[in-house]
Symmetry: C2
Subunit: 322 residues, 2 copies
Amino acid sequence: MSLAIGVDLGGTNLRSAVVDPHTFALIEHDKERVGEPRDVDSIVERVASAVERHAARSTGPVTVGIGLAAMLKDRRGNVANSPHLRWNEVPFGQLLATRLGSRFAVGVYNDVNAIVWGEAVAGSGRGSRDVLGVYVGTGIGGGIIAGGQLVEGATNCAGEIGHVKVRWDEAALTCACGQRGCVEAYVGGIYVQQRITEELTAGAKSTAIELAGGIANVNPGHVDAAAAGGDEWALGLWGELAPLLAIALGNAVSLLNPERLVLGGGLLGRAPTLYDLVLTSLPLVATKASMDALTVVHATLEDDAGLVGAAALAARGVSLIQ
Amino acid sequence: MSLAIGVDLGGTNLRSAVVDPHTFALIEHDKERVGEPRDVDSIVERVASAVERHAARSTGPVTVGIGLAAMLKDRRGNVANSPHLRWNEVPFGQLLATRLGSRFAVGVYNDVNAIVWGEAVAGSGRGSRDVLGVYVGTGIGGGIIAGGQLVEGATNCAGEIGHVKVRWDEAALTCACGQRGCVEAYVGGIYVQQRITEELTAGAKSTAIELAGGIANVNPGHVDAAAAGGDEWALGLWGELAPLLAIALGNAVSLLNPERLVLGGGLLGRAPTLYDLVLTSLPLVATKASMDALTVVHATLEDDAGLVGAAALAARGVSLIQ
């Protein structure tokens, strides 16, 4: 039996853990800041050192799963780009596998895919073979499990629900990805925050300003509370954004017929009114047959989901490099 | 080695064949009209008789795959409804399996899923583990293969790309499914034909009328030829419909990251100008990463795809009832 290690490498933290491959409990757990330098050689060395510390508890084979905040381009851990790590066209997987050596089998996964897999095996998707997970935080990311298998796609970039187009008129907003009308450009946290600040600064009246103690402090949580209290501007904004997210989610549900839709991420977590509005719109979008099969649940594993999911994917043998 | 039999049960024809499970060639092949009566007991008897005739060539075990023009509700061949067969809530799979007996292992699949699987193993998707197949005929149907597995979904109704919503404004058209804004309500062949006739009858000028020899004869093929010749009305109509289909296709491509997008069906087959316009719009919708991985191909197996796919799915052991 291999030792199962999970790594979650984001823009801020490098977390690593030994994970029980049956219960998915964290047996030991480390967390450090990514900091600088963050060129690929330095990060490979940092990840390898963390993995080796954990691996010292046994002498047998080790599987290492890494959830990476990056756009991958294949199942060998080649990274197309990672804004968080400032990487472009980096052979991360091969470098790490070579550095670690033959005792270690390495799998590199998109961070959201790892998170959704974690929820599916040990969180709110447990027991379901067909899961769609969508995280609405600063951006919007997704992961798909179909028939008990992670849907990686031809080049390991499936699940990009944040860049599904929900507007294609002349006025459709431009997304950081360079395309127009992406749902992320409307409902991604960075864009929502920007729009809140802009509209209030431009003179929109809202009780959210008092709730926050000033325009500069208003965040989506305050807007959500204002909407819950009947604030006209807040309800107008949520009333525009909720259907756009529901379109992206509902169309994916029609396509995939999942048993569970796992929703997570900072924005939805802080905005229960928005969340409820999205769920209200969902049956107008998804087919009746797909809605009949669907249960919508909150993500439950929080920060551990990525670690657990990456370790579990690697332990299962998904896309191992060696 | 089991004998592999495929059945394609539509609203018009009942086709059946013995299929070579390695080359997917049709070894023997029958076709009869469905006709009347088409209550489930009569049809079960008809299908069973056809299967038994084919099965007489061996004495060993038989796998039977049936592609059915129906909305399924599970992997046991329970049918939610089939407008073509006028069935509602019918336990087709269990009735057929019981009638055939223990020598026969039966799998019941949605017809478009069977067709896409057929293209994936023996047609234009061959060699790809990640395939999205979309058929634009009288309606619009789809099938998804991810990581070499058919995506059936929790209740076997995945792939419903025809009911993805592409409009949600006040004027969004109502679809036969009862919901509004489905891509099928715009680009499904029945709706396109209806709209052509209505607009020309209402006085729209188009060279399509001369090409067809009168308004009553104008079909999408004539409109396509007119558009190719620069006809303003035809280009206007295609210019509205092509982006809507591209939105549905491109968003699915972003989500699934397929290696091949197989396009088929009567409407796209007769409308090469529309087809080209759809492909032109696709890169504005799908993410760059998913487009980089994608090849768009025409379906090639025509009427045999469903037979071959159903036989191949059953031979593979997908969702067998006994």
